[in-house]
Every structure is written in structure tokens, then in C-alpha cells.
Amino acid sequence: MSGFFTSSIGRKYAMALSAFFLMFFLIMHVALNAVSLFSEDAFNQASHFMGTNPLIQFLMQPVLMLGVVFHFVMGFILEIKNRSARVVKYAKNNGAANSTWMSRNMIYSGLFILIFLVIHFLDFWIPEINTKYIVGDMSGLHDGSFRYFHELQHKFIPIWRVALYCIGFIFLALHLLHGFDSAFQSLGANNKYTKGLKGFGKAYAILIPLMFIIIALFHHFNH
């Protein structure tokens, strides 16, 4: 395998594998959040488990962060390399004639998602880390009951944040609309047996972000 990950195709595999990991994480995340639509209690329980389980906190969480960082860094490196493969640009280029906007602008949808992630971290992750590891309060309690659901609801009161989240998820959808198929193609899964994947990919790319949006709107209107 020497040199595999420094080759062009190896990098495609790396991008695709990290993408798969992140897409899997998205399912987990949306599933957990969706619980908040139905049951405050269940959501609190699940959140507390995720927030305090050492396996998740000290293994999965760093791996996830690494995955995110890797996907972004690799994405940027590839983008820079790919741009340098055409020194003189076309005076006129009609990209829309042969490819989707999503596929040509992964770097921009990705960048917006990155911005969104930074805000998301500031909103949820940093306060959480602060409470748990700086302050040292691992109880997950606030005024005697679990704090998670209330915190969630609280965050979605300001309309500007809901709007920002919605836009963030729209960009996520755009990213996934190309990214899902692209990851499979990169791994070599494109032949007569994989035709069904395309439809599934579209559904995934739209439904997951839509679910996030619904959750955000739900809590905005139902606090």
C-alpha cells in the first residue's frame, strides 16, 4: 500500500472514506435530534448518555473531530492542486452545460458548512465542554432536571440563528447532493448494480438536512 494515499486515486479514497464517516455521523446526529420532536425525556436521556459516556467522549468525539478536520483540509489541498492544473483559465466556460452547480462548487458549499460548523461549535460544543470539563459539572442537571432539552429550545428562539441554521443545512444538502454519489463513485461503486444508489443518495441528501431544518423550526415555534 506504499504511496497509496499520496496518489491521486488514493486521495479520492481518503476523501470518500472521511465523507462516509461524516455521512454516518449525520444520521446519528439527526436521529438523536429527532427524538427531541417527540419526547423531552428521551432526548435528555440520550443526550446525557452521549455527553458522558467515556467511549463516545474520548474516542468517538476525537475521531469525529479528526474526520471533520481531515475532510476539510484534504478538500482544500485538492482544490488548490486542482486549480493549479489549469494555469490559464478559459475566457468563456459553460460549466452548466455538462455538470451540476453542486458538483462544481463543492468547495463553496463546503466552506459555508465550515462557517456554520464554527458557529455550531460556539453555540453548543464549547459551552458543553466548558460546563463538563472546565467547570467540572458532569451531572447534566440544571435546577434539578436535565438541562439538554431546555438548552436546545433556548438556542432556537432567536430567528437569526434559525435562519442561519436553515441556510447552513441547505448548503449541506447541496454538498450532499453531489457528495453522496461522488463518494460511491470514488470508491469504485458505479456499475449496473449500483443504479439504485443514485435515488437513495438524492433522498439522503435532501431528507437529512430537511430533518435538521424541521427540528430547528419546530423548536423555534414550540418553545
Partner: protein, 248 residues
């Protein structure tokens, strides 16, 4: 019809080029695009100017020599054709047509619209063959049955004419459709198995060395390819590459 042409003119690989405007008149809609270029060149020669250099040869869409980027698309706005098969009926009277060379770091401009595609040659030399000598006593052609399906699929991959439209059209100037087609053709045939691992590794290594970009699966190459080479070939190359890398 009367047209305005914006054409990239560049004296040689060392000189900086620029877009230059030309006018052509009385162009018949039945002309091919290259015949329209012939009219322009005849006009330029007669007025003592240098004609526009462009690559072309067979003019029936099979040699892969012609290579223009017309109105922002490789081989122009029609599908499943090369520039020489593009006809002027695709355009309207009074149109302005932008004509540029195929652009990629690995395809340096030689002159005007002529580019150097030697990078493709070097990739082929790195492994685009089956090592068999000409002896006259190779085993009988029917000694090795090959399923019709595999043979047909190999043929579809082998239909690549090496024009470079995939590279030109790819936003990353990636050559993976070209390389993938060749890798797939041999990977699909039993004759190609013995050298399969080395072939894909060597061809990909050479491709990377030439300065092509990386594939991001936009699929633009497949759409613009005059021979309809499928993206499945890139997927197959990726599989072959992984397989070869695991084998070590």
C-alpha cells in the same frame, strides 16, 4: 450567416497569447465548424496575415486530433461529436463565438489553438499495452473465449479517441476518464489480467506526474466525451487501483 469570432492567438509556447476578434461573412449553415475556420484562414492568407493554427486531420470524428473549446465547451455545443463534426447550423446569424485551445497545465499551447498532448502518450507508454511479441504462432484467437458482455464492455471503453476533451472540460483538468478507459479495457479482458496490477499503478503514477488535476466526479467529461465513454470506467480504475495497491 455572419459571425464574430473571438479566437485565442499565441505565437508559440513561450509567447503570451490573447483573444483576437475576427469577422466572417456568408457562412453556410451546412458547413462544418472547421470549414468555417478554413474560410477564415483563406481570408487571412489572402490579406497577408497568418492563418489560425488548429489541429485537425480525419474530419470525420475518429482520429481525435481536433481540439477546440468553443463557447465554453470542448468540441462546442453539440453532443457526441468532435469539433470537425460540429456544423454551423448549431449557431445563429450574428453570433459571437469564442474559440480557445484545450486548457490544462499538462496540455501546453504550441501555437494558437494547437496544444501538446504528449502527456497522454507518456501515460500510454507507462503501461497501456499487453506485453505480447509478434511471432506468428500466438495461440489461436478462439482458444480463449471471452464473454460477449465483457468484450462489448471492453469495446465501449476502447472507443476513446484520445482527444483530451475530458481534460479540457474538467474543472480540475483531470485525465481520469482517459486513463480509466484504457485501464478498464484491459481489465475487462483476460489477456490483460497478468499485467493488470502493474498497469494501473504505473499509468496512474504517470498521470499524477504529468500535472493533471484530481477527479471530483462532476461527470462533465462523460457528457462532453465525443465517444460517450462512461464514468463507470473511472470507478473501475479506482477499484483496480485499490486492488493493485493492496497486493503491494
Amino acid at each position: 450567416m455572419n459571425l464574430t469570432l473571438k479566437i485565442w492567438r499565441q505565437k508559440d509556447s513561450k509567447t503570451k497569447g490573447q483573444m483576437v476578434d475576427y469577422k466572417v461573412t456568408d457562412i453556410s449553415e451546412h458547413m462544418s465548424f472547421l470549414e468555417m475556420m478554413d474560410v477564415l484562414n483563406e481570408q487571412l492568407v489572402n490579406s497577408g496575415d497568418e492563418p489560425v493554427a488548429f489541429d485537425h486531420d480525419c474530419r470525420e470524428g475518429i482520429c481525435g486530433m481536433c481540439s477546440m473549446y468553443i463557447n465554453g465547451e470542448a468540441h462546442g455545443p453539440d453532443r457526441g461529436i468532435t469539433t470537425c463534426q460540429l456544423h454551423m447550423r448549431m449557431f445563429n446569424d450574428g453570433d459571437t463565438i469564442t474559440i480557445e485551445p484545450f486548457r490544462a497545465k499538462a496540455f501546453p499551447v504550441i501555437k494558437d489553438l494547437v496544444v501538446d498532448r504528449m502527456s497522454f502518450e507518456r501515460i500510454q507508454q507507462a503501461g497501456g499495452y499487453i506485453s505480447v511479441n509478434t511471432s506468428g504462432n500466438t495461440q489461436d484467437a478462439n482458444a480463449l473465449p471471452i464473454s460477449k458482455h465483457a468484450a462489448d464492455e471492453a469495446m465501449d471503453a476502447a472507443a476513446c479517441i484520445g482527444c483530451g476533451a475530458c481534460v479540457a472540460t474538467c474543472k480540475n483538468s483531470s485525465a481520469m476518464l482517459f486513463v480509466g478507459a484504457k485501464v478498464a479495457q484491459y481489465a475487462l479482458l483476460p489477456q490483460g489480467q497478468v499485467e493488470a496490477a502493474d498497469r494501473v499503478k504505473n499509468m496512474v503514477a504517470q498521470m499524477d506526474l504529468e500535472g493533471f488535476g484530481n477527479c471530483t466526479n462532476t461527470g462533465a467529461c462523460e457528457v462532453e466525451c465525443p465517444k460517450g465513454i462512461s464514468l463507470e470506467n473511472i470507478a473501475r480504475m479506482n477499484r483496480e487501483f485499490l486492488k493493485a495497491s493492496i497486493k503491494g
